[in-house]
């Protein structure tokens, strides 16, 4: 039983085929698994390991190095607030405290209903709009406590889904040019042709 659903499995094969070496697809495949489930399940890491030819432990060891890859469940919306130097100079620590109070979770925590996870981020490179806030890695540019509360209300009520897809969905544009046929499909076609000949 494969971990990726049919549509995701096709995209997974395409990702692997884009690189000269399969292992390069490891991180993109982790993003894909997060798109399917919101986080990196152990079964996902096992299947990614198989797809790129490493052990599941190597996938976990690599994934755990990166802040955006979650080996534990997170909320539907991951709220990241930067407190690095430029944002710190403009009230980021205070906004983070407010967010923690508003959501009722400590930094790093997820609300009981599983809707929000609050994270303290390092510089997100949007320093002319401090303090910088992202939801699922979309810049929302809500820099005051009031604006933050309105954003949370909107998201909790199911709004802004167009702009902010559920956590894990990173790139909604599908590559449509320069696609190579995945090696396993070539192998399958060859096998089918060989069978046909026989």
């Amino acid at each position: 039983m494969s971990y990726f659903n049919a549509a995701m499995a096709a995209r997974a094969r395409q990702l692997v085929s884009l690189y000269p070496k399969a292992r390069s697809a490891l991180v993109p495949l982790c993003h894909l698994a997060q798109e399917q489930d919101g986080w990196l399940r152990p079964e996902a890491m096992e299947e990614i390991a198989e797809l790129v030819g490493v052990t599941p432990a190597e996938v976990r060891g690599t994934a755990s190095f990166y802040d955006m890859l979650h080996t534990e469940p997170v909320g539907r919306y991951v709220v990241s607030i930067c407190t690095n130097i430029a944002c710190l100079l403009d009230g980021a620590a205070e906004l983070l405290d407010h967010a923690s109070e508003r959501l009722g979770v400590p930094v790093g925590g997820t609300t009981a209903d599983g809707v929000f996870t609050l994270e303290e981020a390092e510089c997100l490179a949007d320093c002319d709009h401090p303090p910088c806030v992202q939801v699922n890695h979309r810049f929302v540019r809500t820099t005051t406590a009031d604006a933050f509360d309105r954003l949370i209300d909107e998201l909790a009520a199911g709004g802004r889904t167009e702009e902010i897809p559920p956590h894990g969905t990173l790139v909604r544009i599908r590559r449509s040019g320069g696609l190579r046929v995945p090696p396993d499909e070539i192998a399958r076609e060859r096998a089918q042709r060989a069978q046909g000949d026989g």
Binding site: D67, S176, G177
Partner: protein, 434 residues
């Protein structure tokens, strides 16, 4: 362009609300430079870039033309573009990726032609979800326009480009860490030698790694000639450059200005640029080139924005980010936050960086929060000295990558300039700034 009559080179299209679309790109001269480049020989294109004296825009400022000339001839070579912008308070690449991805891509295709590379990767920071989508769209559009793929514009040259998403790790901005990451591994910087990816890079093959803003300059250089680019700026710092201005200024933003002809004072106070310190307050200090650069004070305001000029004054232009701190800023807190950043982002391979960053962070934290001891000031410098002996500028390198030795400068700056502030924290048992 404010202050001088230099043209906008990388931000020309940004005034259009639809600057990121292929339609706007083509309407405003997009892919004309590529067409021109394809009528030249690869060596001629490389010669133009060399003549431009373009210094790499990532942070180290290595001449792009020289980097290209170092690429070891081999049947398989790669071009990797570094769009993993994570240096604190640096946000120019973010803007270029989101607002003009086609321009970057055109630079990549021209560069690949000059280098005769047939596979390029654009590594975009994972946190730039919109930027990733726009870059992916630009790649799709280029394929359908005939600017990418087999036999580009019927020239016989072929190239494939893959947009690769990062996943959140500052260290991947280091070029060898970025290559490891692109190979599907942890972003661990590689042990040197080999010193240059141009000899041993991605998958062990010769590889050129260039920054996004560097790539964005290439189409203009090919269209207008390297000489025209070199005529702008001054000394070794040619052309224009984007400066990301943040902190306590009235108009934070990323501004493209002519190098050397503009000073820090212009950048911070000119009405078209930073428009002065917020609330009319006094300037306490400013960070001239990223988290690892030694801080400057009001006495440095008239320094020109040039790589050598800033280097000779004891700091660096680095990633082109300037953070302004006004008179209400607590220098201890600022140094603590920068140090905490390094402690969080240390990859953990080298002991001085892994252990030292955490020790320094904890000492600064306790000073800021009322638990400081008088001997802490010497202890800070002692730990700094263990990470980078001498604690001078440029820092002594002791670790695989420059991250570790990048930690002491902000602490040494803060302590050197504002020692009395540290002492007040320790004596009063807390931060006087509230």
């Amino acid at each position: 362009m404010p202050l001088t009559d230099a043209p906008r080179i990388v931000t020309a299209r940004l005034s259009y609300p639809d600057s990121y679309t292929i339609e706007r790109f083509l309407e405003t001269g997009g892919y004309q430079a590529l067409r021109k480049a394809l009528t030249m020989t690869p060596a001629e294109v490389a010669a133009e870039v060399d003549a431009a004296s373009l210094l790499g825009r990532g942070g180290a400022g290595f001449p792009a033309g020289r980097k290209w000339s170092m690429l070891k001839p081999d049947p398989v070579t790669y071009l990797v573009v570094n769009g993993d912008e994570s240096e604190p308070a640096t946000f120019k690449d973010h803007l270029l990726i989101e607002r003009d991805p086609n321009q970057i891509l055109e630079g990549v295709i021209i560069s690949a032609y000059a280098l005769q590379v047939t596979q390029a990767f654009i590594y975009v920071r994972g946190e730039f979800a919109l930027g990733l989508e726009r870059m992916e769209q630009a790649v799709n559009d280029a394929y359908h326009h005939g600017a990418l793929g087999r036999n580009i514009f019927s020239s016989g040259f072929s190239l494939d480009v893959v947009v690769h998403p990062g996943a959140g790790a500052y260290i991947c901005g280091d070029e060898t860490a970025l290559l490891e990451s692109l190979e599907g591994k942890r972003g661990f910087p590689r042990i040197k030698p080999p010193y240059y990816p141009a000899v041993i890079g991605l998958y062990g093959q010769p590889t050129v790694v260039n920054n996004v803003e560097t790539m964005a300059n290439i189409p203009w250089i090919v269209a207008n000639g390297g000489k025209a680019f070199a005529a702008l700026g001054g000394g070794r710092s040619c052309g224009t450059r984007m400066f990301a201005l943040s902190g306590h200024v009235n108009r934070p933003g990323a501004y493209e200005v002519e190098m050397v002809k503009v000073t820090f004072r212009d950048l911070i106070y000119d009405p078209q640029l930073g428009a002065g310190v917020r609330g009319g307050r006094d300037l306490l200090a400013f960070i001239p080139g990223g988290a690892s650069s030694p801080w400057f004070g009001p006495e440095h305001l008239d320094l020109p924005l040039g790589q050598d000029e800033v280097g000779q004054a004891g700091s660096m232009l680095g990633s082109g980010s300037v953070v302004v701190m006004d008179s209400t800023t607590c220098p201890v807190r600022a140094a603590w936050r920068i140090t905490r950043f390094f402690a969080r982002e240390s990859c953990g391979q080298c002991t001085p960086c892994r252990e030292g960053s955490g020790w320094l962070e904890r000492i600064l934290y306790r000073i800021e929060n009322g638990g400081g001891r008088e001997q802490d000031l010497d202890l800070l410098l002692d730990v700094c000295d263990n990470i980078s002996p001498g604690v001078h500028w440029p820092p002594e390198q002791t670790t695989i990558c420059p991250l570790g030795p990048s930690i002491p400068p902000s602490i040494a700056s803060s302590l050197g300039r504002f020692r009395d502030d540290f002492l007040v924290h320790i004596k009063d048992g807390g931060c006087p700034h509230g």
